[in-house]
């Protein structure tokens, strides 16, 4: 069971007629219950495309993506998207800022219960569910706030709570912490790990930060561009060490952590030296 990516290739039409961009080539990836899979790689390695495949926003050119053996055909509430980047021709140029997918005309609470309301859940039940998940992300005192008045970190927490309310089998996050300051970022790393342990969801998480990837992943997938493919996979347990000691800095500065970090960094730098970076 879980999510299977099976021999998936994604080919976009290029900028010139007849040109093809192999965003992903022959990707195989199994995500089982309780896995926290982090994808890491230079720009243009196809990690965002991979997430959008899992979300059901794009279809593979070859191969298939299944969740609990059922083919993914479009977005669905069993795969909660916390945030994502829209891909496609032209979308790979320049810096793409993650826009918040929260609805600014709704309050924090209304955003959290939005999915349940659409699904037709009775009011009392959805109030309980939304309150529970808002409390889980530490926003129990912010129900009535306007989302556009919150800080970036708090907006991300609303996004996580909203995705959790539908009780999805997995959460998808594309660089959710990329735009945050260092301190907020570390706090939210811990919060996401706690939410993951509490709820037992599968998580597919994209980041540019090697440290973040190592700290959070049970499985780290290093990807390489042109064509986008998985080059290395590591099974990690630094997050378990964090749960044991509750001291993220100690985990991140341990000799073992630094050793793995340098190894992964050298792989990614190797890609960039080989011309893997985004040359526009």
């Amino acid at each position: 069971m879980g999510l299977q990516v099976d021999g998936v290739t994604v080919i976009y039409p290029g900028r010139k007629p007849g040109e093809e961009v192999h965003a992903l080539e022959n990707i195989n990836l199994d995500i089982s219950d309780g896995d926290f899979v982090v994808a890491l790689g230079a720009s243009g390695c196809g990690k965002t495309t991979l997430l959008n495949l899992m979300a059901g926003f794009i279809a593979p050119s070859e191969g298939r993506v299944t969740l609990d053996r059922e083919a993914i055909e479009g977005p669905g509430k069993e795969r909660g998207v916390v945030n994502h980047v829209v891909t496609g021709p032209g979308a790979d140029r320049g810096v793409v800022f993650q826009k918040h997918a929260l609805l600014p005309w709704l309050t924090v609470f209304e955003n959290a219960e939005f999915g349940l309301k659409l699904q037709g859940m009775p009011k009392q039940e959805r109030t309980e569910t939304a309150s529970r998940y808002l409390a889980l992300v530490g926003l129990e005192d912010f129900h009535k706030h306007a989302v556009y008045q919150l800080s970036g970190g708090m907006q991300q927490r609303v996004g996580i709570a909203r995705a959790l309310t539908s009780n999805p089998a997995m959460l998808l996050m594309d660089e959710p912490l990329g735009a945050l300051d260092a301190l907020t970022r570390e706090n939210l790393q811990e919060l996401i790990l706690d939410v993951w342990r509490e709820t037992g969801k599968m998580i597919f998480f994209i980041t540019h930060s090697v440290e973040e990837a190592l700290f959070m992943a049970t499985r780290l997938v290093v990807m390489s561009p042109r064509p986008g493919r998985i080059t290395h996979t590591y099974d990690l347990d630094f997050q378990q060490r964090f749960f044991d000691c509750r001291d993220a800095r100690a985990v991140k500065s341990s000799a073992n952590f630094i050793e793995v970090r340098e190894k992964v960094l050298s792989i990614i730098h190797g890609d960039e030296l080989a011309g893997g970076g985004n040359h526009v």
């Binding site: 979300a55 059901g56 926003f57 479009g74 977005p75 669905g76 509430k77 795969r79 909660g80 998207v81 945030n83 994502h84 829209v86 993650q98 826009k99 918040h100 997918a101 929260l102 609805l103 600014p104 005309w105 939005f114 999915g115 659409l118 699904q119 306007a146 989302v147 556009y148 909203r162 995705a163 539908s166």
Partner: protein, 290 residues
């Protein structure tokens, strides 16, 4: 010789322009190099009073004949006279009510049709394909140019007036609604689908809400256009209305009523705009926030 003079004056103009944008470090609370920053309210009040004073001065000194420009006092007296005794068969209030009835009637008819059509144009390529050519074709044509046609088709009664204003209001409202739909963030739409929303729910709960700021902008522009077209609409066979009052007064060279009418039209248009801005702040406080 003339070349150097031209270059010199060009340099003078250039440096005058660049000086506006770079005059040393910014004061606390201002941002360096931001064009045109700072409050202009006091200057606007001074400029309005200055214009009024200029008007008073040139008429008091007898520089312009009252036939061409009556003094502010005379215009104000006329305002009181028309408000109480009337002009052209109706009081000022009647004229205003007639005009507002026409503008608002056409405005509401346009809002009920243009906004749905604009939204459909945004969400559906077939609708966009159908409605784009006629709207884009007639939009830049001045209403006065198709006024004769509306009279031939709909006669000289109320309907041709309403239709003329309606057409002027329709295009900006439809096009803004369409632009509003297209401006909704794809991330929000994707998020809603991922939460299990159906297409109808996405249109209703995400796209329409997200398009609201631009729909309201369209309504604001629309009511401005409607008011602008009013005088043209009341040119033919009207018996009351501010536009009719001004035109009728001009035929008899009653310049004070003409000026008074213009000022009343201007003030009402400005009040409409303030009202629409207030409604905007009330309905879409998140505008420009995310």
């Amino acid at each position: 010789m003339s070349d150097t003079a031209a270059t010199a004056s060009k340099n003078g103009v250039l440096s005058a322009i660049t000086n506006i944008f770079s005059k040393g470090p910014a004061k606390p609370g201002e941002s360096f190099g931001a064009p045109g920053q700072g409050s202009s309210v006091a200057i606007s009040v001074a400029s309005s009073l200055g214009l009024l004073l200029l008007w008073y001065a040139v008429t008091a000194m007898g520089l312009i004949k009252p036939l061409f420009l009556p003094s502010p006092a005379v215009v104000f007296d006329k305002f009181v006279e028309v408000a109480t005794e009337g002009f052209g068969g109706s009081t000022l209030l009647d004229h205003t009510l007639w005009s507002m009835g026409r503008v608002f009637g056409a405005f509401f008819a346009a809002a009920l049709t243009a906004i749905p059509i604009g939204v459909f144009m945004g969400v559906n390529r077939v609708m966009r394909g159908i409605f784009d050519p006629p709207i884009e074709f007639y939009r830049p044509i001045p209403p006065l140019a198709y006024l004769p046609l509306t009279i031939i088709w709909f006669g000289i009664g109320e309907s041709s007036k309403l239709i003329l204003i309606y057409l002027a209001v329709f295009a900006p409202m439809a096009l803004n609604a369409r632009a509003g739909v297209r401006s909704v963030s794809i991330e929000q739409i994707h998020a809603a689908y991922s939460l299990g929303a159906t297409r109808t729910q996405v249109i209703w709960h995400v796209i329409l809400k997200g398009a609201m700021p631009e729909i309201l902008t369209g309504m604001r522009i629309g009511i401005g256009f409607g008011w602008t077209t009013l005088v043209a609409a009341e040119m033919v066979a009207a018996e009351a209305g501010l536009g009719y009052m001004v035109l009728n007064a001009s035929e008899f060279l009653v310049t004070d009523v003409v000026i008074m009418g213009i000022i009343v039209i201007g003030i009402i248009a400005y009040l409409f705009d303030l009202l629409m801005r207030w409604i905007e702040r009330l309905l879409v406080p998140w505008k420009g926030q995310m």
